[in-house]
Subunit: 271 residues, 2 copies
């Protein structure tokens, strides 16, 4: 993954942020056009996008649209997966899939493998989702089904941003989010898996405080904070509210992707 | 710190969340009554608190009100602090203060000590703040001044919640927040330092999805997510917007404190 410094995204926060779940998103299946899904849901909510709006999509609907369903019944685990499955008491077919989706194991414990996902971030069980994970029309005899994370969330976010911006003649941002369980703190929070249009990190290093002191440690993870806020109205686990509109952040367009949110492993004190 | 399971806070999310910075909070000094400060700012904003509202305070104003100013010029570093200061290239007086504020060192690197704060969480440099940290009337010859974190944020949040609830005849929540730099991901996000009235963790383990599967890993860190959302409008580093109102989360009152957000070190794969 890239080790480049994130650009200093110019961002001025308004004094009010609206975080609104957009209802009426149907269960998504392989091949569905998410742009049309978003446009239809916004139309039913009688909401147009305006400059500065951020459209937040739960990764699950992106995975479903991309057909990222995997039938565990079709997977033949390798010897290392069999071995690791016994070690952490986990279905070796799922372990095999976790290994395929990741580039390395960070920690392991009963029931969980913390891996570095192929997309670069740390993740329990490679973000593989086993709830409501069957595709439409799957035979009764198939499965169990799971969903893997989207193939290239940054590219998907960028493509959706371009089409939404054109449709609404507005400079918008798009986030694709998932939730993660953090080291040291209990409970999951939303985080940004794919980013387009807004600065993922707001770099205020070098700004000065009111006494002229240079501020330290003021690199704010804006995209992750928005993902956390959206997660509050998106709810969890079910597919009822996978689409959220966040309004009130005034940002200058940024070309940075979600990679800007990843620490280099060699700089990470806990890697 | 407690290792007890957090209670299963009942929380139903509305479809819309409003995150509003409340303007007009003056620079706080030692001894100021934060209850009166909040009430005055809400009055100027022509806003009454209603059931389910969450009042979010940046820890900095709590520290200032509690007089948590420390004149580094008055600190005589111990031998271990002198040694550690040379090792990480940090003012030994600041290192001494970090050691006093913490119960153990987790990692160290040039310019930063990652410690377990006396309040239980992991923190870079014990959350000590060096920007705009002088008290009113400090002599020119004094300092440099820094601010340490509030003494007991849960107790302060609970006291404020009781008084605000009485004043507005409403069941409200109070959060005291700070920001932290996470392992693995760049940039800081808000987190909950003190919690009163709302469930810090929303425990949905045991719920079932629409196919009757028991959901896994659905413990949501609600208080941290709200802190992250508030951080987006509160801005950073300066004292301009230390007070935020979050409206739209429908929660059942909870007696849990911010301790519910801490993993037991023995359960933590990265401790």
């Amino acid at each position: 993954m890239s080790g480049s410094e994130p650009a200093s995204g110019d961002l001025r926060v308004g004094s009010e942020l609206l975080v609104r779940a957009i209802a009426g998103v149907p269960t998504i299946n392989s091949g569905d056009d998410l742009f049309e899904v978003i446009v239809s849901a916004l139309a039913r909510a009688e909401t147009d996008l305006a400059d500065g709006d951020i459209v937040v999509l739960a990764s699950k609907i992106v995975s479903r649209a991309e057909g990222c369903f995997v039938d565990l019944g079709s997977i033949v685990p390798s010897d290392p997966a069999e071995h690791l499955g016994r070690e952490v008491d986990k279905d070796p077919r799922l372990v095999e899939l976790i290994l395929r989706e990741s580039v390395g194991i960070s920690r392991k414990t009963t029931g969980a493998l913390i891996v570095r996902h192929r997309l670069g971030f740390l993740s329990a069980n490679a973000g593989i989702d086993a709830s409501n994970a069957a595709p439409f029309g799957a035979p009764e005899s198939s499965g169990p089904w799971v969903l893997v994370l989207p193939r290239d969330p940054d590219a998907t976010a960028a493509a959706l941003r371009a089409k939404l911006g054109e449709r609404f003649s507005a400079n918008v941002g798009v986030l694709i989010t998932d939730s993660w369980g953090r080291p040291f703190r209990r409970g999951t929070v939303g985080f940004a898996l794919g980013v387009a249009g807004l600065p993922p990190v707001w770099d205020r290093r070098g700004a000065v405080d009111r006494h002229g002191r240079v501020l330290e440690a003021t690199e704010s993870a804006v995209a992750d904070s928005i993902a956390a806020a959206a997660d509050l109205v998106a709810g969890q686990a079910d597919e009822g509210r996978p689409l959220t509109l966040v309004r009130g952040l005034r940002f200058q367009p940024s070309g940075d992707s979600a990679e800007a949110l990843l620490r280099n492993p060699e700089d990470d004190l806990y890697a």
